[in-house]
Symmetry: C2
């Protein structure tokens, strides 16, 4: 007989038919010679109920049907008399494919996330992590589908790189050198001629610059791949290895970029609501996050506010005048802290905000420079800033803060080189990037979305280590 | 005016309408006061023709419209009198967004692939690489769509790992240690306590083992991510950094696995034929590969042969008896060489072959062991082998050789441990993997597909460095 997945079995109405299901025992209870098994096969958060009479089965077999055991069940599909489930299976044959003894670490209910992280390879078999991983899959699918339908090409930028323009100091070195026999030159510098790539290499911190090469050839691309930061931060928001999505689009201006950011993120949230109903309903509970679905629906209802940084600072200053206390300062030129972003989003506007036109000093060299006006500059919708600004467009979300970091890119070779030299940057490994501005330079824009940030928002989970199967953090490369 | 992409402009029939297109000049020619521009924006391999009269434009502007320049064109969409194109644009306004001088390396036609590899950041703007990259995107989309529709979950396995079960010796080390100040213990061994992860780590050679954790929890998963091999092989078939797809399915047996492999790969090839027609037609030419489309269609027409290794050896031995010469030996127990695989696929069967039941000695420890029979074993459809075999199921393709490597996995803890100790493997970093067999072990199977191998097959390209944007090979980590 062909196996039926639990997700499909639960939809069947051909009562009386023979059926074969296979999966893991979530629980077993019994009374008066009858036992009930809640069986799950990972296809859905829902279990299917298996009903059996002790007398029809070998005692040794029944004993082996414990929490975590893997079993195969043949029986008849019947209407369930129990509440909350349409069907159940009256078992005629049960085979224990893999027993599970009392050492199984995921046996008890209500174990802490901290405990489960220590058994990350087995936590995937729990309700919460099953739900999170199915939603994670769905968000990846939403992203690929969105870009495909909008004419973007998935573009694989390299992971190992000899370029290091932004991440200096926070990079993982990649080497095949024998560390017991490091050759050095006369000045005592390590010689990399015999390393695999013939020079010093590390893991990428962003695929954006290579993505720009793709966009200025194929028109519109997106990356979706692993990215690395060797920051020694033990926080619920940092991973050393995480997945990033970085679309990059030729001929796009700031207004169009904001349209794209808003449309894209709403598409993802809508996909979750449309396709992950069961899992979201499970996560939307008092123990985890009772306002999850409400928050997701809230994002879809609202038009995002488009707010120049300079106006944002004014709002924050006004709030301070009216008695609002912040831990960190927020004068023009300061990088906004999470508390400022959340005040604007959650208290002032009560909707997502796209912040634009940041001071040049707090943004990256490649962003498009706004037109100068005296000491200041003119940005989005004519907003005048007291200093030079760049066309950044970050999306700020409730609960999460910055979820997208985007910008128009500076397409003028001269301005870009000016900014690079103002920052005393080494261009040795940047000449290929500057070539995009040398030959057929083109206005373009793009943004970056940390995939795990999106999953945190969509699942309501609190710790980034709980939304990726095997988190990489300081002192932790297990599994 | 809103920009129209070239791919959409070419489909428009609202002749007389105003239109705005932007892109890069592929070529410009002129005579008698009229000029013709072939404009491409990367959305399609096809160019749109722009027609202008010299007298309507500033002479300086017209001079800047050179190959590689980026321009913006407003004009009227009209029916084209020229052959091979339905529409063209009568330009009324042209703006040069980015000029392109004679130093532009992609200026000339017919440059060698070797030359273009040296300018890999600019080769994306050529016809061939544009076509390959659009097909690459489409194959990724086919893969995600196939698995999503079949109830698989996309599962992100870690890139940085402390486990090293298969790839010993071929791995890239990942470290944040200061190589100028390596602490060693009394025995002279490097101390990794202060490395980022507190132990020695490297880049993964496969996500399969972690994928099995996913499959035995979620039922069916697939990975699609970068994979690394530090092999010092300068061949047209090897990359140090490549993308792999590794599906893993609980409750799947060998026959079902072969069904999946065949159905999956045909789906991808069909997707290419259905969605990449223009690009395939471009690549299907005497200079590149005149039999490309024919070969793709051939794969769809045929039912793959399912051939036990032992029968394959018999066929090869028979061929040798009949005068066929091979460079390498092919006695039972030998790992087949590419020449053997291609003989079976291209000459003997003239269709793709799924080879099963390989000798244990040439396959990996985790594969399911066939039932022993005396000194031999019994495999697929009762085929008796003279020695112990494992349930491998590799797909062999014309032109490419092995395109998929798959197997049923050994689910018995005892047999798996037996094989591990026969191979004298260190289990220190494998205990988490063995846990899947300790608690609720489950029959399962899976396969691996090198993404670039698939792209080679589907594009007909000959060198693997030409099917990924920025190839990583010995001495080459540029861009």
């Amino acid at each position: 007989m062909q196996r039926t997945k639990v997700i499909d079995a639960l939809k069947r109405t051909d009562y009386g038919s023979d059926i074969l299901v296979e999966g893991w025992v979530r629980s077993k209870r019994g009374s008066k010679g009858i036992f009930f098994i809640a069986l799950n096969d990972g296809s859905t958060i829902k279990n299917i109920q298996i009903v059996g009479e002790d007398q029809n089965f070998d005692e040794a077999t029944v004993k082996l049907i414990t929490t975590g055991a893997c079993i195969s069940v043949e029986g008849k599909l019947v209407e369930s008399p129990a509440a909350g489930q349409a069907v159940e299976i009256q078992a005629t044959k049960i085979e224990v494919l893999g027993a599970c003894d009392a050492t199984y670490p995921m046996q008890k209910k209500g174990q802490s996330f901290e405990y489960m992280r220590q058994h990350a390879h087995m936590r995937l078999r729990t309700n919460t992590f099953g739900a999170v991983m199915r939603i994670r899959h769905n968000m990846a699918m939403a992203i690929h589908t969105y870009f495909h339908e909008h004419g973007f090409f998935y573009f694989h930028t390299p992971l190992i790189t000899a370029s290091d323009c932004e991440g200096a100091g926070n990079m993982f070195q990649v080497t095949t050198k024998n560390l017991y026999d490091l050759k050095k030159d006369e000045q005592g510098k390590i010689i990399y001629d015999d390393d695999f790539f013939g020079e010093q290499t590390s893991l990428t911190v962003s695929g954006q610059l290579e993505g720009e090469l793709g966009a200025t050839a194929l028109g519109a691309i997106y990356t979706f791949g692993p990215t690395f930061r060797a920051e020694n931060s033990n926080t619920p928001r940092h991973l050393a290895e995480f997945w990033m999505i970085e679309p990059e689009i030729a001929f796009m201006d700031q207004e169009e970029l904001m349209d794209l950011e808003e449309d894209f993120i709403k598409y993802c949230v809508r996909w979750a609501l449309d396709n992950c109903k069961d899992d979201l309903e499970f996560l939307n509970n008092p123990r985890l996050d009772p306002h999850l679905i409400e928050r997701l629906e809230g994002v879809l209802k609202e038009t995002f506010v488009r707010l120049p940084y300079t106006e944002g600072i004014n709002i924050l200053q006004e709030a301070i005048k009216n008695g609002k206390k912040f831990e960190f300062p927020c004068n023009w030129g300061d990088d906004l802290a999470s508390e400022h972003e959340r005040y604007l989003v959650e208290e002032h506007f009560k909707k997502p905000v796209i912040m634009t036109d940041y001071p040049t000093a707090i943004k990256s060299f490649y962003m498009k420079q706004n037109a100068p006006q005296g000491e200041g500059s003119v940005g989005y919708k004519g907003c005048v800033a007291p200093g030079p600004t760049m066309q950044g467009t970050d999306v700020l979300f409730p609960a999460i803060g910055e979820i997208i970091g985007g910008s128009v890119r500076e397409e003028s070779l001269e301005k870009l080189q000016g900014e690079i030299s103002r920052r005393h940057m080494d261009t040795t490994h940047l000449e290929w990037y500057l070539d995009t501005r040398r030959w057929g330079s083109c206005p373009h824009a793009g943004f970056g979305l940390g995939f795990e940030r999106l999953i945190l928002f969509v699942t309501g989970m609190q710790n980034i280590r709980d939304v990726i199967p095997f988190p990489r953090t300081p002192k932790n490369a297990a599994f």
